[in-house]
Symmetry: C2
Subunit: 351 residues, 2 copies
């Protein structure tokens, strides 16, 4: 099977580019002495999580229990879910996972920890919990070292829990993030509680992780495929993007307009610092100006060469993680040859 | 099963509101003498397509063959796919559908019609084809009555095809759209080719369809559930929104900030004329300020009453069609009671 045999829209993964991305990141982590814990939310494929571990990754990171269940079912055994787990249904699922693999979760508030304490009571098999700390990016996380200490104490005092350390996402600038995390660590350790793991994350600043003092774990997801947003943030270039969406030119209504056979249900509507909804590899001067659900309207004004109806193009999406979540399968490519078609096992497992 | 038993994030459909939306739209179509052909891209559920037909809808509209296949498998028998179908793989699938249900497709250019001509050759069982016309909204469609006539002639002359009429999407203003369509119809009929169907579409202007002269079919999808965008466009109010995403408050990092347990993988990133990524029913003054993939960051500055960790809220999304496509199932609600949990059969069938 060849690229010409793939119906569109479809996801293509360039294995050579992907393997280079994985090796480069793992080498950087090894050289700088921190554990790389890949976030599987980008690829959602057990086989790729295993490939990352084979290269040296230390466990995986999931965002939701549904993702963790898919990964555990496929044989992954060291899973950190970086989400506050709330409610009886989810705590039961977490307990079932904890019974069969090495699980860890996070908390940034007392009610969440109270839920863990009520569910996990076995000192012989404690659940690892990390405290999520805000380092300036205004999402989740405790707001001060004192709050972090309070939660660390709750975890440390609970027989069925074990305090694994502190964690941030999204981080601020690398240096500032390190300073904040080190202050928090000092306050917790001054109270007599060890902080075994200090974890930061995020692909855009991955190669600046060595500037973040004191971290011994880094979580990153998008680095496996990269995308237009990562390239705009300076994480490599468009040549490092392993994932493209293969699309067909469905219409050429005017001399300067083309319409591709996928819209926000194929490319997602996430914006990028650069204008447009993706980069067309074969027509780099074209601008994907507008998306509706199944149409991408392309402005060809700046193109000298222009595609005709039926031509096929590859689009580097703005944000690859949300794109993968829209497709049932991905095509693993070696050059123009399809090496394998793989079902996106954890697609839509956002629960 | 009750609303409290549903794990989050989850889609809830208020059946009372949905049924009122369907009845109101069908009554309006009946009163104004045009056929309503519902677009199933919004709900992606065969059972709801059948409900629409039972109320009086004349056939259904799909955007992609994958959707049409799901609907045909479930017993729907009159399907218009409003998309240029290109390439051997898709033409074979279209032929297979045409063998078992009443199919129609569109074209806005000659190469697409040439594909239909090569595939469909049986005068005893011709494929219905409509010509898509641009009426000002700059997506697909022929640009002039003369182009429309040229394509109508190609279709009319092909033994295996039958010219069904003309179609537009997205339409411009109702009156202008009618004027453009009527000019095109006149030019085609002056050449001796009948134009049986004149079709417009789109939920936002649905209740202005009577201002569009000469149409005898209207295609609309979003009207079944409505959403924040439709309400902003004046298609009813937020009270007419039948679909909400049930979410849990996962974190309250600061006095004015809450984080919900779903982000762009639950609410999608589509923007709306109004600020924010959705409307929180229980906290109408809250603003969903920022989405990451699994987090919605909510600004509570304007709220007097504020939710606590573990509270559950219902969010009316900006754009309901892309949200449905992200979930594996929907919960059909009668008040707070779950009447049924239904798999989203055509989820991700964008091929």
């Amino acid at each position: 099977m060849n690229i010409d045999d793939i119906d569109t829209p479809a996801i293509l993964i360039d294995l050579d580019v992907m393997e280079a991305n994985l090796a480069r990141a793992q080498n950087y982590a090894d050289k700088n002495g921190f554990a790389l814990r890949p976030h599987i939310k980008t690829h959602r494929l057990p086989a790729f999580a295993k490939k990352q571990e084979a290269l040296g990754a230390k466990g995986i990171n999931c965002q939701k229990l549904g993702e963790a269940e898919v990964m555990a079912d496929a044989g992954l055994t060291d899973i950190l879910v970086t989400y506050n787990i709330i409610g009886a249904a989810k705590l039961d699922r977490l307990a079932a996972l904890h019974d069969r693999v090495r699980m860890a979760v996070v908390a940034d508030n007392a009610p969440v920890i109270e839920g863990y304490i009520a569910q996990f009571t076995d000192p012989a098999h404690p659940l690892d919990v990390m405290v999520e700390c805000e380092t300036g990016a205004e999402r989740n996380g405790v707001q001060s070292p004192e709050q972090a200490l309070e939660l660390a104490r709750m975890i440390d005092a609970a027989p069925g829990l074990r305090f694994r350390g502190i964690l941030t996402y999204p981080p601020a600038k690398p240096k500032e993030t390190g300073e904040i995390l080190m202050r928090i660590k000092q306050v917790i350790e001054a109270a007599g509680i060890k902080v075994p793991v200090v974890s930061s994350g995020g692909s855009p600043a991955f190669y600046s992780a060595h500037e973040t003092e004191g971290i011994n774990e880094y979580r990153a997801g998008t680095y496996i495929y990269s995308d237009r947003m990562q390239a705009a943030f300076g994480m490599g270039t468009l040549d490092d993007c392993a994932l493209t969406v293969l699309m067909t030119v469905a219409s050429r209504p005017t001399d300067t307009r083309a319409v591709l056979d996928g819209g926000s249900k194929a490319l997602a509507a996430d914006l990028c610092p650069k204008p447009g909804h993706g980069h067309i590899v074969q027509y780099p001067d074209a601008v994907i100006a507008k998306l509706s659900e199944e149409h991408a309207v392309v402005d060809l004004s700046a193109c000298t060469d222009k595609p005709k109806v039926g031509d096929r193009v590859q689009v580097i999406p703005n944000h690859v993680c949300v794109v993968v979540n829209l497709f049932e399968k991905v095509h693993l490519m070696r050059g123009n040859k399809v090496e394998q078609v793989v079902e996106v096992a954890a697609r839509g497992k956002s629960n």
